[in-house]
């Protein structure tokens, strides 16, 4: 490893301590699963590849594991090119979807499998420690089929972790678990990652899971990365309609750019002028250009007609409540605006104010620094139909 790090950079490729993908492409017959992907995963990070099924995230993971051969592009790990390395020679281990535990071996031997193949000396000690870490020390002599889903999941994790891979790949590791167990395992895996300090690359279609666990998320769609960043950054300032809709929910309202003023972009939004900070305006900003003004439902404020709102600037009048659903901690309103669009509003049930009823007239508003402006050429419904809505 050290000799690689010391080696002078070859052909202009900078040596990078971490996992680096460069113009990685995978084609299956007529279908391009991954399109010229560039990605840097820093050492020690918990990295999530988030996207709907068929977006190429699992294919990307399998190429890193060596289970799939890239059509073109390179994969480097700590500066070493592993693009064509056999899977059994890569310092990378995988937690498979549905675990892929060896049914003929007991838990102990499943966990010991990788160490035995590498002729490690301290198998017993390492296995005992690892089983302790995942709290399965009492189940060592059981067969995988005798364990519950959550326990099998932990065995899969232990079986991969025990090899101290440079990168641990997790392929939808929690997909087969029920919601409650999944929440518990998310915290558990995050705890283990902090404890062992390895690089985790986690593939998931569950945006909540990605936001809970990862410190960096790359949102993938149709073989390309739409946006990458810390969970809060992606959520607060999405750059595409897909990210705005796939990561949480967004109201996207059509508007026309009316020029810049200082560090804000003025947008005529159905008759109301909205000021959007320049760093949140992902359009060219020329006068007259169309765009989508985006605002998260929980950032929208709702009030009686004429009541003053905790938002500078004018409120948008003329809304009529068309649907109310009370969900305990919050109330979700749909407000039909004069231009026909229904705006989603989530209001925290602080108890300070009565609930609005269906058919009531209301004003809505929001703080302009929370809104964002997206390219009008993008589909306003991209990423809306989340698969995890069903699960």
């Amino acid at each position: 490893m050290s000799q690689v790090a010391e080696a002078p950079t070859r052909s202009g490729v900078e040596s990078y301590e971490g996992l680096r993908l460069r113009s990685l492409t995978k084609q299956f017959a007529a279908f391009t699963a991954v399109k010229s992907l560039d990605l840097d995963v820093p050492t020690g990070s918990f990295f999530a590849l988030l996207g709907p099924s068929g977006c190429g995230k699992t294919t990307t993971l399998r190429m890193v594991a060596g289970l799939e051969t890239p059509t073109s592009g390179t994969i480097t790990l700590s500066g070493k090119d592993i693009t064509w390395e056999k899977p059994y020679r890569r310092p990378v281990n995988t937690v498979f979807q549905n675990y892929a535990l060896f049914p003929h071996l007991d838990i102990y031997e499943n966990v010991a499998f990788g160490l035995r193949r590498r002729k490690s000396k301290e198998v017993d000690k390492a296995v005992r420690e690892m089983l302790d870490l995942v709290e399965l020390d009492t189940q060592a002599r059981k067969k995988p089929a005798q364990l519950s889903g959550g326990q099998q999941q932990r065995v899969a994790l232990a079986r991969a972790l025990i090899n101290s891979p440079e990168v641990l790949l997790l392929d939808e590791p929690l997909g087969a678990l029920d919601l409650k167990l999944r929440r518990a395992m998310q915290i558990e895996i995050k705890r283990i990652q902090t404890e062992v300090g390895l690089t985790f690359v986690h593939v998931t279609h569950d945006q909540e899971e990605a936001m809970t666990m990862a410190d960096t998320i790359a949102v993938m769609n149709a073989g390309v990365i739409e946006q990458m960043g810390a969970p809060a950054e992606l959520y607060d300032n999405p750059q595409t309609t897909f990210v705005a809709n796939f990561l949480g929910q967004s109201n996207l309202i059509e508007g026309t750019v009316r020029g810049r003023e200082g560090d804000v972009v003025k947008v005529d939004m159905q008759g109301t002028i909205a000021s959007i900070p320049t760093e949140r305006a992902h359009v060219s900003g020329t006068d007259g250009e169309l765009g989508w003004v985006g605002i998260r439902p929980e950032k929208v404020l709702i009030a009686e007609v004429g009541e003053s709102l905790d938002a500078p600037g004018s409120s948008i009048p003329g809304g009529v409540v068309s649907d109310v659903s009370f969900v305990g901690v919050s109330t979700q309103y749909l407000v039909r605006m004069p231009w026909g669009q229904e705006i989603q509003v989530f209001e925290q049930n602080t108890g300070r104010r009565r609930l609005f009823r269906q058919g009531e007239s209301v004003d809505i508003s929001w703080r302009p620094e929370y809104s964002f402006l997206l390219d009008h050429n993008q589909d306003a419904t991209a990423g809306v139909d989340k698969e995890d809505a069903a699960s």
């Binding site: 594991a65 060596g66 289970l67 056999k86 899977p87 059994y88 020679r89 990378v92 281990n93 995988t94 498979f96 549905n98 892929a100 535990l101 060896f102 049914p103 003929h104 499998f113 990788g114 193949r117 590498r118 067969k143 079986r159 991969a160 090899n163």
Partner: protein, 303 residues
């Protein structure tokens, strides 16, 4: 016999009795057992009883005069003394043929299960295609293939693998080749069933965990295919040991197997007690070997 063994190896463990509420439902199981049970009594239990009885008849009787039941256990001792060499030969031929079938069959079943893609069903049909022709006709055609001036013998002579006057017919090679050919499908089908069930991700997982392909095969694929190996070898070995057609058509008296001896004793020598005793010996021998083998293979956990 074969049926009983198959049931054992494919893990037809007795299902736990479902909760029964009505006496009517309780009886359903017995009604369903009735046709098969009757069949087995008439065509298995009674003949078996008759066979065992015949093996204990007075050896001095004859078909014309009839036999007396003298509990002549000495028949067994005499049969073993007289015919131990075809008996051992049968076991050796059967074992060799089973081993060759296992190697060939495993490769074939593996290829069909993992590599044949959309040709899978066609390949399986081709495996059983020989059954569309009679066993006898197929073995006779091997006689033509292996004949002394046939192209196989000529080629082997040309390559100096056999001598100038070397031949294949009437050699152990011919008999074992015939056994392998005739029983290969019985090996391939259970092997295929086992290998086809193996989740491909397990093999990926073994590769991810530092196993090169050969190691992954012996640590994952092979142990998971053991149920198929056990039933395949049993389905091949048992009929191969008792077979007499291949030895008769492709071999010479030097390659006589125990099946030939029993057939001759029954049909030519009319020595029913000796034939019966040999049949029972063969049956018990195979039964003991099978029980031992199934225990040793330790496949209970896999089934």
């Amino acid at each position: 016999m074969t049926a009983a063994v198959v049931a054992e190896t494919t893990g037809a463990s007795p299902h736990p009795e479902p909760q029964e509420h009505s006496p009517k439902r309780k009886l359903t199981g017995y009604w369903l057992l009735l046709p098969g049970g009757l069949w087995l009594i008439v065509f298995f239990v009674l003949p078996l009883y008759s066979l065992v009885a015949t093996s204990l008849y007075d050896p001095d009787g004859s078909v014309l005069q009839g036999y007396d039941m003298t509990w002549a256990f000495s028949n067994y001792w005499h049969a073993l003394q007289d015919y131990w060499s075809p008996l051992v030969r049968s076991l050796v031929y059967g074992a060799v043929a089973t081993f060759i079938c296992l190697v060939l069959g495993y490769l074939l079943a593996y290829a069909i299960a993992f590599k044949s893609g959309r040709w899978k069903n066609l390949m399986l049909v081709l495996v059983i295609a020989p059954f569309f022709t009679s066993f006898l006709v197929r073995t006779l055609s091997w006689k033509l293939l292996l004949r002394d001036d046939g192209f196989i013998v000529n080629t082997l002579q040309f390559l100096h693998i056999v001598g100038a006057d070397g031949r294949l017919l009437a050699t152990p090679v011919a008999v074992i080749a015939g056994l392998v050919y005739n029983f290969l499908p019985f090996m391939v089908l259970p092997l295929f069933a086992s290998i086809d069930k193996i989740d491909h991700r397990l093999i990926e997982a073994s590769s991810d965990l530092y196993s090169r392909p050969a190691v992954g095969f012996f640590k994952v694929t092979w142990p998971l295919s053991l149920p198929g190996v056990v039933s395949g070898t049993l389905l091949t070995f048992i009929p191969a040991v008792g077979d007499y057609i291949n030895a008769q058509l492709l071999g010479s008296p030097k390659q006589r197997m125990i099946g030939n001896v029993i057939q001759d004793l029954f049909t030519k020598a009319n020595d029913y007690p000796a034939a019966g005793a040999l049949s029972v010996i063969l049956m018990l021998l195979i039964l003991v070997m099978v029980l031992f083998y199934v225990r040793r293979a330790g496949t209970e956990d896999l089934l």
